[in-house]
Symmetry: C2
Subunit: 823 residues, 2 copies
């Protein structure tokens, strides 16, 4: 892709002259943000007192971002495009802010930053300044859905944003630093999941400025032929635009404008036949036809992208202190850093900033000249004002299926064994049916393994590569996306949510740690965006974690890690919820609940194996609402509900397997010690345990004391690492009597009950714990204790001999287990 050469001094077309003017204005405002606190229009010679005390920011990537923005504005206006601008190099935050100010959006949102000299001064001062705005693109930045501080996620966010947004183009700048990250390297493959009929398009702009912080980049230094093959190998059609000579800006404008137009035309060409009916997406399982419109045998379209080489810190100081800066890593942050002590640096800064000719850009009052302001697109199509970047403005509530239609009748607690995930799958199937264009499920090839396969009764898995006859549930337009990359699942879902839709990420519990840092960044984004009145609430990020630590029959130690919960609870309490439904109806109630929440991260952990159903539909819903409650049927307090005051011991539990073991332990104890007053407390909303001053869901101390008593031993069987329960409860009255069992990082490929025994959370151990801690029992129960210990040994031996758990132990076989009690 090469345009005719343009001599540097050759006049540009009027539109490209306008583009250049906008670019100069944005560059001026960007440099101003990094440097100035006074004299924003350079009406007088620059003095060092005009310059900020601390010079912070990243100039290197910024002029490139401004260049793209200016060109995109042209096509938005000329071609009436809807464009979302995604800034992979979030460090170039000054660019986003500058363009938002030029478009007027910034002043509309932040009225204290007006369209005049005083506003300009505020704009400059506040940047990367105490009490001001962050140096990166951030929630505070109009038009952004992407931080870009932690690199790697721009392209995945972009694909998530355009799913089900057929008219949207996500113009996505990918820095060559970011391109070295794993998540970004995998994100190129997202084109295997983009349906040209119902999804929009992503236009990747790979911006090679040659250097990271201190090193050249791989993609910029490999042979160009190899780079082109790499992009073609990823399935794209690359357009190359190279700026060899930094001063040849006219040629750069001509070349980039041509490439951009060609890309947009190609996008139209790809989409048109899918939208006109000329090509039809037939699911894998449909009967063979001779229909030539059937695209099953075709591969994903070859979408266009741009590779743009330009000098790092383009248009900034070329040489500083005798060292080349422009075009090198030295331009990464602040190219002139000695302003306060070095008059030459000060002079160079002034010369640099005046090179943008501010007097041509702003009038005497500091207003952008009307003919330049008129170059901005209008209203909502301004990239800084697009509702796509403030997804709450587009959010429609989900139509939710009735809980009662999916809940399971439970006459006697624990008599039916049902997989909570299978039932949740049925509920999600109906969510998909009711919300055909704003709800999606993402998973790393585990949706069926996690037992959500009912969704395939109404939809398919999105897939744009060839579909073979043997395939099942594959189609161009599926509502489920399956890719073996947790990073992509998370990034797509985040992009989908941030643009105003709903979704769920289902994942093996252990491997969700792969996206720990992505979760961090999203939780931070939510924390800040909740504090911005102009950002409308978005749907919560929902994790359904299954194939959990206690149920890894096919896998081993590597698949056993319940620590994501610990990771999550470090983030701001108002953003975080953790649910551990103990059975099928509570799982359903939790699923229904989380799909209606906003601006949160909901973590739900549930097993996929058949589990005793404990609560009937009404009780389950109440239990989930309350988050924690006493289970009378499992305990042996004599007084009825509401009057119980004095148990001898509390058996608490959170999580499906710990609940099963706790109820079974209570059963053993009730049989053997009929006079012992046992209270069983189940916790489904984990944050109920925390102090109400720390978490909005926290139980009051009074309620906590009522449930857990002030002075009785509490044996708490918990799904994850036991110390989390201590951390959440260390301020509670009865904390000194709390004894927690949980996962102690002991595991291997073994049976479920053997896993419980390895970590001492099994029913026998819990019963022994009670004997150890209830003082009134003294040593009167030596025989029972011995039987419990022996039973553990017998179970282990049986498991070793037979390769499976003893039949009586595989469920909640309370009856049979109790009958075997002997003393």
């Amino acid at each position: 892709m090469t345009a005719a050469p343009v001599a540097p001094d050759q006049p540009l077309s009027d539109t490209l002259k306008d583009v250049d003017t906008w670019w100069r204005a944005a560059n001026y405002l960007s440099a101003g943000q990094i440097y100035l606190r006074n004299n924003p229009l350079l009406r007088r010679p620059l003095e060092k007192e005009d310059v900020k005390a601390r010079l912070l920011g990243h100039w290197g990537t910024t002029p490139g971002l401004n260049f793209f923005y200016a060109h995109l504005n042209r096509v938005i206006r000329d071609q009436h495009r809807e464009v979302l601008f995604i800034t992979g190099p979030g460090h170039g935050g000054p660019a986003n802010v500058a363009n938002a100010w030029l478009e007027g959006t910034y002043s509309e949102i932040y009225s204290h930053v007006g369209q005049d000299e005083a506003g300009l001064q505020t704009l400059f001062r506040q940047f990367s300044y105490p009490g001001g705005v962050p140096s990166h693109a951030a929630p505070e930045t109009p038009g952004s859905i992407h931080e870009g501080g932690e690199l790697g996620y721009s392209l995945a966010h972009a694909y998530g944003a355009v799913f089900d947004n057929p008219n949207l183009i996500a113009a996505t700048v990918i820095g060559d630093g970011e391109a070295e990250t794993g998540p970004l390297a995998a994100s190129w493959h997202s084109n295997s999941f983009l349906d040209p009929a119902v999804d929009g398009a992503v236009l990747p702009i790979l911006h090679l400025n040659g250097y990271k912080i201190a090193n050249p980049t791989i993609l910029s230094r490999m042979p160009e032929e190899q780079l082109v093959k790499l992009m073609e190998g990823y399935g794209y059609h690359p357009y190359l635009v190279t700026v060899e000579d930094p001063s040849a800006t006219a040629q750069a404008h001509v070349d980039f404008a041509a490439a951009l137009e060609a890309c947009l035309a190609e996008i139209d060409e790809i989409q048109a036949p899918y939208r006109s009916g000329e090509r039809v997406a037939v699911p894998a399982d449909a009967p063979d036809t001779d229909d030539s419109r059937d695209v099953r045998n075709e591969h994903a379209p070859r979408w266009p992208m741009i590779i743009f080489r330009s000098p790092k810190g383009w248009t900034g100081p070329a040489v500083v202190d005798g060292l080349q800066v422009e075009g090198t890593w030295r331009a990464h942050q602040v190219p002139l850093s000695g302003i306060h002590d070095n008059p030459e640096h000060l002079a160079q800064l002034e010369e640099w900033m005046r090179s943008y000719r501010p007097e041509e850009l702003f009038d005497d009052a500091g207003r952008l000249r009307p003919e330049i302001a008129a170059l901005a697109p209008e209203g909502n199509v301004r990239m800084s004002a697009t509702p796509y970047a403030n997804g709450g403005r587009l959010l429609q509530d989900l139509k939710l299926p009735a809980y009662a239609d999916h809940a399971v009748d439970v006459e006697n607690p624990g008599t039916k064994r049902i997989s909570p995930m299978i039932t949740a799958g049925g509920y999600l199937r109906d969510v998909i049916s009711l919300n055909p264009s704003n709800f999606r499920i993402f998973g790393p090839d585990e949706t069926a393994s996690n037992r959500l396969q009912a969704v395939y009764e109404v939809t398919d898995k999105a897939w744009q590569q060839r579909i073979d006859e043997i395939d099942e549930h594959l189609a161009r337009s599926g509502r489920v996306a399956e890719v073996l990359s947790e990073h992509l699942c998370e990034g797509w879902l985040e992009g989908y949510l941030l643009t105003g839709r709903h979704g769920v990420f289902n994942c093996y519990e252990a491997f969700v740690h792969i996206v720990d840092s992505m979760f961090n960044q999203h939780a931070k984004w939510l924390k800040v965006s909740r504090s911005l009145s102009w950002r409308q609430p978005i749907a919560s990020l929902n994790y359904l974690l299954s194939s959990h630590v206690w149920q890894q029959d096919h896998n081993g130690f590597s698949h056993q890690d319940p620590g994501f919960i610990d990771h999550v609870v470090n983030k701001k309490a108002e953003v975080i919820r953790v649910y551990l439904p103990p059975d099928v109806n509570t799982m359903l109630a939790v699923t229904e609940h989380i799909l209606g929440t906003r601006d949160r991260v909901n973590v739900v952990v549930s097993g996929k194996q058949p589990t005793p159903a404990w609560l009937n539909p009404v009780d389950a819903q109440l239990h989930v609402e309350r988050g924690v409650g006493i289970w009378d049927f499992a305990g042996s307090e004599t007084a009825g509900p509401g009057t119980k005051t004095d148990p001898d011991v509390v058996l608490a539990c959170a999580g499906d397997v710990p609940t099963l073991e706790t109820v079974a332990a209570a059963g053993l104890l009730k049989k053997q010690l009929p006079d012992l007053k046992i209270r069983v407390v189940n916790v489904v909303d984990l944050m109920r345990l925390q102090d109400p001053g720390e978490h909005p869901h926290g139980l009051s101390d009074r309620d906590f004391d009522t449930l857990f008593t002030k002075d009785r031993p509490v044996i708490f069987a918990y799904h994850g690492y036991p110390w989390l329960i201590h951390r959440l409860t260390y301020r509670r009255t009865n904390h000194g009597n709390l004894h927690v069992r949980g996962y102690k990082e002991e595991g291997t490929t073994t049976t479920p009950f053997d896993m419980a025994m390895l970590n001492q959370i099994d029913r026998f151990q819990l019963a022994i714990d009670v004997l150890d801690r209830v003082a009134s029992l003294g040593s009167t129960q030596a025989g029972f204790r011995q039987w419990l210990q022996d039973e553990r040994i017998r179970c282990r031996q049986y498991t070793r001999d037979e390769g499976q758990d003893p039949p009586y132990i595989t469920g909640w076989e309370l009856q049979e287990a109790s009958e075997q009690t002997a003393d």
Copy 2:
């Protein structure tokens, strides 16, 4: 790459016949592990009682792994190669175990699994069995350095393994599922860092069996031309071998053998000129020469790789219950799962297993027939016995520079301000000089940003792409690797350590979360390998985390996250150490210490900015040895060391910034309240806080009580999330009086002291905390309290006005701060 076709019935060469025999044997043993508990030689008809109760494992990938293993053995023998086999699809664990048994290694290590029928039966029974061996390649698996349960890291491990191992070839199988992950997608670029002169070679074998758990894979379904471009784009020369017809095994052998030989020849050709001196790696900064051997202007060599397409579950049951299994996702785990209830399945299993002709493989005693056993390589070159896969056998202690040569004289605590990271950089520089071939530093483009730049005085950054004149410290053979991928840094270092070398990963504190899950897997590996007597200890995995939460001048909220420590402490205590050196000499002592440890993960968090040097060299070393201690100079207890018994309050601290604020707070209090007995306790080894029953470094309760008292208020200023301190200390006597300040997830781009104030860990707040908690002070200090509160407001205002911290606050300017105290 296409070999001449071979008719299926055409006789193979003798060597390839041997390869085929080995393959059959390995496949037989693999299927046997998944299915059988009795009748291992099929001496009698198979009965369902011979079959395990629970059928677990992953057949799909296994025959491919066995195929590669058999072929690699041939070239190891014929060409005297040293090969490390890395099993990306770790789920194919039965393959690794089968081959290790065939090679005799398994029985050498595990004497209860002998080379006879009883041994075979044990081999089969133990697989994925309670008390047996994991279903994945694991530490228990001879010849493995790679788990492969969590996918994505095989190729990075492989590159790490061959760095500085010039004769090693890491034959690395990458499943097409794994190839979709981010870390793997980035790992291909590792070839930009592999020095042909001093490093070995990686031979990637991309194994396309078409399906993941339940879906086709992207790489197997994209057009072949695109796939080839992708691999060429990554800089490789791909050899394609495709098995269209599952029964055409002879052709497959011929084709694969030819491809393998061609690859090895190409590797030799690439390496030879670098080793003969025909090509010379000149560093970037060397003067220009006309020397034609100078390779600075060249690009990375184009290393060979193999793309092998074969049916999933190859040689297994083709069709089960009328559904195609071989070649589809249905072969992923156990292709015949109904053995116990379905006689047809049982019959089909027997037919399948007999197809490997066990009677030709084993003699009557169950011994592998000698002519087959003789096909194994001998001794240490067996891939199952290679010392490269048991790195401790190759480990050489590091030669460590003298601590005293680097430590800084400190006459008065806090009077000098020195960057701990700069000093550590000097120490690491000398480590590199003293250990030129078994120590490396890995970092995501942050080694200089983290202030370790002294290392470039003696080495360069490894870089195999073109080197330009302007570049600094780049060379083919550098001891520092810089790539903008935390995944690659971690994966390379793990591979390097597991093969018996030493290293350090330096990283921004917040972004090390990117490798949370990789850390998990490595910690799990260490936990298990420590329990295996035949696995020799390896060097610890050392994280140097800097640019931490309190020092993010150029960056914002996205860069502020101290939670990696919380994540780390969930893993087994014997594996985990966390150090928070408060100043330069403690940082040096910690660095020296960790480099001598084995089988651990050491996390060190240190700021890079100049920080007051508190301890002289001797005291610092003692302090690090003890891990925690009273700082007399900072407190105001009247009795001398060893006799102090009765402070009014304890000010504890862990981390450099909290220590500075704590000492400053103590200074303010001492000035204002000369009678108040203040004890300052500094914690450098965080795990000293934990119960000795929980962690080997835990202080005894008696020592803890002596330091922290049994009943006095403790104000603890901690580097990270405050609740971790509660979690570590909840069992301690004085826990009820512990008040912890730390990072509360409040941040943005602002000054360092403003960050401290935002999170209420600043000196003024700590002093207020003391006033609030020391009962004897009552409300007598209202004026002082007001002054402290006002001072916070003044500081904030100054910061807002001036864009920087008040000068007197930027360091430990105790004198001036105290002088301003007024009441």
